[in-house]
């Protein structure tokens, strides 16, 4: 038995494998949400059922084995599997019901935006300080004095004062931080600090100081140059 059921099962298996494991690996793609995979599998199943019930003959060929399996009539050694399915199905239903109704034991999920949009006046500013070995060196000196306790002497976010802070201080050597940003963005973040973030940046959690009350703008621009140079990164440009 089961010859006519094998193909649909294999087909659903292939579709699931493609959606779950192949699609996310296509360049430019992303993992599909479970709800979407479920929808596709449902469509596939409906297609199979429609196809299998087109004629009376194919209908019998399709439902016959399912019916025999469920009623346990002349299925021989598959009887064990049948009992397994009949036992497992209510248990899965019970387990899923428990998971969806039991009160959550986890703290509220936090979807913090790491690089929220800057206020308009901070977009497109260019560094007014000339980039020379001298100014870069000055910037690195300011960085060592004011920034390195948290962001680290190696620009890796692992300074001696970093451990207690959540969110952790940015790691500038990571290509997804300052390398993705323009100098004007860094100027905003350094000047206004954590409390300058919009609500999606969760400003109440950030330990980044509001340096505008302590450092002149020129020092901040020099720190930015020192940061990029020290972390071996370049600012993002629009070309």
């Amino acid at each position: 038995m089961g010859g006519s059921l094998l193909k649909p099962v294999i087909l659903i298996g292939i579709v699931y494998t493609i959606l779950k494991f192949v699609v996310p690996n296509i360049p430019g793609s992303a993992p599909l949400p479970a709800s979407l995979i479920f929808l596709y599998l449902m469509l596939t199943t409906s297609g199979i059922v429609i196809f299998a019930t087109l004629s009376g003959e194919s209908k019998d060929a399709f439902w016959g084995p399912i019916q025999r399996f469920l009623t346990g009539e002349n299925i021989g050694s598959l009887q064990v599997l049948r009992y397994g399915v009949l036992l497992l199905f209510p248990l899965i239903v019970g387990w899923q019901t428990y998971n969806s109704t039991a009160t959550s034991d986890a703290p509220p999920a936090e979807n913090r935006t790491i690089h929220p949009a800057p206020p308009g006046e901070y977009t497109g500013l260019s560094n007014p300080v000339a980039k020379t070995p001298d100014t870069i060196q000055q910037g690195k000196g300011f960085y060592a004095a004011f920034c390195s306790p948290c962001h680290g002497g190696n620009f890796d976010g692992k300074g001696p004062a970093a451990r207690g802070f959540n969110p952790p201080p940015a790691n500038f050597s990571d290509p997804t931080t300052i390398a993705m940003l323009q100098e004007s963005y860094l100027f905003w973040r350094i000047k206004k600090g954590g409390v300058g973030l919009p609500i999606e940046g969760m400003p109440w959690k950030s330990a980044m100081p509001r340096w505008e009350v302590e450092l002149p703008d020129e020092w901040i621009w020099k720190i930015i140059m020192g940061e990029y140079d020290g972390a071996h990164q370049s600012p993002r440009t629009w070309e």
């Binding site: 469920l70 959540n166 400003p203």
Partner: protein, 275 residues
Amino acid sequence: MKHGLSKIATGVVAGVLLAMGFLVAEPVAAQEGIAVRAPMVKGSLPADDPNAAVWASAIPATFPMSPQVHWPNRILEATVRDLSVRALHDGTNVAILLEYTDPSEDPDDAAAIEFMVGDKKAHFAHGQPMAQVEGGPVNIWYWKNKDAKGVDMNAKGFGTLSVQPHQDVKAKGAYANGTWKVVFTRPLTTGHPEEDTQITTGGFINIAFAVWDGKKDASGELKEKGSQKAVSSWWYFRAEAPPDYSGYYYAALAVGLALGFQFILIRKLKKGQSA
């Protein structure tokens, strides 16, 4: 046999789809962040006894501490690097036990717990103003060794720290073997929701910590004082609600329904076969 087939087919399709939905469902989300969880205990809370045996019934949560570098006056190195926190409640009062290593007992050793007040988010540094978000005040529970008491305070911005006219917080410290244990106690709810954090069982609220090592340096100056202290970020606190078994009841009901579905389906199939 063919007659009842379409009805049965609908049932089988529904069952298969149902089962498939369960198989691809998202797993339960992994726990994020760290939270202090206060289980409910019967009998009185160990408000005056940091060494009481009942503390063992609370699971400790450990939080990393940083020297306070966020605003002047800063400190680049603080004594306390980790803080272990346990909590208990009895339905009326909450007791929170802070535990940390400090090589010496000093009169100016001090510790504090910070909460947000009301629904507005407050910055962890004394509820200082935020540029794009309207923040709320913080409620600070403070203890200093030489004062031997808890102080209930509020702040909304630097320089606004003030002692409340109504004091609801009690605190008691015990030093032994290079370790401080400090217990803070307060009613879960108070009559002053504008100043005091209100704790309802089952809900998560934000919590942060600060510790001062009251040791003096060679010149007689305190190493850590005022804004020069060890601090933590915001984490979570929850007074656990009494156990809720409704999830089990719903699960049992669902198992019963699934079994019934199977029973009726197979009975119908068998009837169809014999017809």
